[in-house]
């Protein structure tokens, strides 16, 4: 059985679901960030798979480049926010940061 489009799409789906599980179940903000990176990578696998098999040619790869760029921006800003949270709370558990609730 040759490797086709479906194999790559299902690989992307597995990585997406693992990332989703990590985002929702973890308390540590950095773990949430890692789950987010997994989700973005799965989206990139889909883009590049369609670039090869779906006739998108180079457009899919350009879209994947923009996704990587936004992931880099997001990681930088998110880690700055996480460091700020750590200075204020001495932990980064996202479920205990509820000062605005009161």
């Amino acid at each position: 059985m040759n490797i086709g489009l479906t194999h790559f799409l299902i690989l992307g789906a597995i990585v997406f679901c693992l990332g989703l599980y990590g985002i929702i179940t973890r308390k540590n903000a950095i773990m949430v960030l890692m789950g987010l990176e997994l989700v973005l990578n799965s989206a990139n696998i889909n883009f590049v798979a369609f670039a090869k098999y779906g006739g998108m040619n180079i457009d899919g790869q350009v879209a994947a480049i923009f996704v990587i760029l936004l992931a880099a921006c997001e990681a930088a800003v998110a880690l700055a926010i996480i460091l700020n949270i750590y200075q204020n709370y001495k932990h980064v558990n996202v479920d205990e940061i509820d000062k605005m609730k009161e």
Binding site: F16, I45, G55
Partner: protein, 168 residues
Amino acid sequence: MDLVTIIFYIFAAVIVISAAVVVFSKNIMYSAFSLLFTFFGVAAVYVLLNADFLALTQILIYIGGILVLIIFGVMLTTKITGVDIKTGITGKFQVGLTAFLAAVFFIVLAIMYSKVQWNVKSAKPLQDTITPIGHSLLTDYILAFEAASVVLLIAIIGAVMIARRKKS
């Protein structure tokens, strides 16, 4: 089984196993280092898909940039000497519900992917991908390219502004 099939299954196994370690590991350092293998596996999948420039970009930016940043974040926000390096998870009920929902979502996606008749067109065989990517970045995607440069600049300034220690 030709060589491409074997290579695909090897790297798919690397990606899935290391992503599972990222998600299920209790030790946050193990998660961060396991993410390294996930990114390498994804880069290998890009090479299988004829995207050599993208594979190099993946290694440079994800592994050289984002992963190092994440490891810095782990080291700066956990007490290295203490036992605080483990990360908690939410309650058992939420974990079960989330696992169930993720599994259901994956099954739905897998059924959908295998049922749909994709309009598979074999792409034009590319000699290199760098030249077409450069051409399309400066012609079709010029607006997105310029916007991306502005976004990068704003992200740098914003990250520095947010992370700076306040003068008391």
